[in-house]
């Protein structure tokens, strides 16, 4: 639960307040951008996602390195991805 997982912003959902769709390891889920502030990110940007919120904007190199590290974690990462794929915050 403490993991921060890199996700790519696919689409902002302006009619849904501060939500955006991110893609994490092939899974697309809505997350909140409420902690980043208006205009902080746009589609194509990478963010660190933690418990349904974007924590910070990161660059693509950081995202790739973090994903590789997480994949090496095995079950802790898989459990997190599974929880994320079942998440429904809308």
């Amino acid at each position: 639960m403490c993991l921060g997982i890199p996700g790519e912003i696919v689409e902002l959902l302006p009619d849904r307040g501060d939500l955006a769709t991110v893609e994490v390891a092939g899974v697309r889920r809505p997350i909140s951008l409420g902690l980043l502030g208006p205009g902080a990110v746009r589609p194509g940007d990478w963010v660190l996602v933690h418990v349904g919120f974007a924590m910070s904007k990161i660059d693509e190199a950081e995202a790739a390195a973090t994903l590789a590290l997480l994949e090496g974690l095995g079950s802790a990462y898989e459990d997190e991805l599974e929880a994320l794929s079942e998440s429904d915050i809308t």
Partner: protein
């Protein structure tokens, strides 16, 4: 994967290791605490300690939020879940943590409606979908996670979702570090600062560690090379007689933290006078509760809680492990009575706990060799 190689390069690891070794004063032993459970994980998974000279030791700190929840709080949550109209929601990590009378999984098997969620916003959605039920979110975590709970409470208040409340167990990292510095059990030479917590609080709150306690701290990233680089930065400070807060993880951690996250926490939460940490005991001003203004969303005000303090099992030495006083394998029950399948203590439950990391990666040989040598 060019990007990844930058953080994994064996040559760079070798260069850093040689530079760290060159900075060691003959005859001196260096002890650095990594505060964050995520760092512990990287250290064992990638054998970071194998790159360090014998004179440099990493000890594990209290930075696993699941591990520090005392048993009595688990029992309180289970008591809430026992109310017939309640749905208790929790991160998956908490489900197996033993309370005085079983875990969330045990309570669920006995009929309580306890559901795993990924985000506090999932819990809020469950409340919206079930207006006839009272939905409680078991909030745990350091400053990394507390802003998400804060934003969810603000949203519940704004939308007027009256059947949603939070059982707030958020803790703050600075008082725990201070408690360890004040403890006579352990002499540390410096700290590897927690990466994700620092994205929220920034680097400034650590400055007292350098100023008042004379210990350097380097905010560290999670890659093996990040940790080696951070150890190198600590060693350099000591060699040059400096004592500062430095930020190795500047590509993610802003010096000032995340002002929006801090504002959300400040609006909804305040410090408790004291809070019990598993293994560390009561620490002043070390945890957060909801402000009076949000009483309608505060499970501690909505429900009558037993609030009974439960002592940890006698055989369990999680406290010493969390303070870095002993290594996981030095615990009497490590790997025998206490395993990830049947954990006695929290450090074995959570995948970020030091004991689970040791157990899963089998990386205790080096310490045993070291201990044998010292004897």
């Amino acid at each position: 994967m060019r990007f990844v190689d930058e953080y994994r390069d064996a040559d760079r690891a070798g260069v850093l290791a040689a530079e760290i070794a060159a900075l060691c004063e003959p005859g001196r032993h260096y002890k650095f605490m990594e505060v964050c459970g995520g760092h512990t994980h990287t250290i064992y998974k990638h054998g970071v300690e194998d790159h360090l000279p014998e004179a440099v030791e990493l000890v594990h700190g209290p930075g696993c939020p699941v591990c520090v929840i005392p048993m009595g709080r688990v029992d309180d949550a289970i008591a809430i879940a026992g109310e017939p109209d309640v749905i208790l929601t929790s991160f998956g990590d908490m489900m197996r943590v033993p309370g005085g009378d079983g875990s969330f999984f045990d309570a669920k098997a006995a009929g309580a409606d306890i559901r795993m969620v990924y985000s506090p916003l999932d819990a809020l959605r469950i409340a919206r979908d079930n207006p006839g039920r009272r939905v409680v979110f078991m909030a745990i975590g350091f400053e990394t996670t507390a802003p998400s709970t804060a934003m969810t409470v603000l949203r519940a208040a704004a939308e007027g979702i009256k059947n949603f409340s939070v059982f707030c167990n958020h803790v703050t990292v600075i008082p725990a570090i201070k408690a360890i510095l004040d403890s006579p059990d352990l002499r540390l030479d410096g700290f590897l600062g927690p990466g994700h917590v620092s994205t929220v609080i920034g680097c400034r709150p650590y400055e007292f560690i350098a100023a008042r306690y004379g210990r350097p701290l380097v905010c560290a990233g999670f890659e093996p090379l990040d940790l080696l680089q951070s150890v190198y930065m600590l060693m350099r400070q000591l060699a040059e007689g400096r004592c500062e807060v430095e930020n190795q993880y500047a590509r993610v951690v802003p010096w000032e933290g995340n002002p929006r996250a801090l504002e959300a926490m400040g609006r909804t939460m305040e410090l408790r006078p004291h809070f019990e940490w598993r293994g560390l005991g009561f620490i002043s001003h070390s945890a957060l509760r909801l402000r009076e203004e949000f009483a309608a969303h505060d499970a501690e005000r909505v429900f009558d809680l037993p609030g009974v303090r439960v002592a940890d099992p006698k055989a369990c030495q999680c406290g010493e492990v969390l303070k870095g006083v002993i290594k996981p394998w030095e615990c009497k029950v490590f790997g025998t009575a206490c395993t990830p399948e049947t954990p006695i203590g929290t450090c074995m439950v959570s995948s970020e706990g030091a004991c689970a990391a040791y157990y899963n990666y089998g990386r205790f040989t080096r310490d045993r060799v070291r201990e044998a040598t010292l004897r």
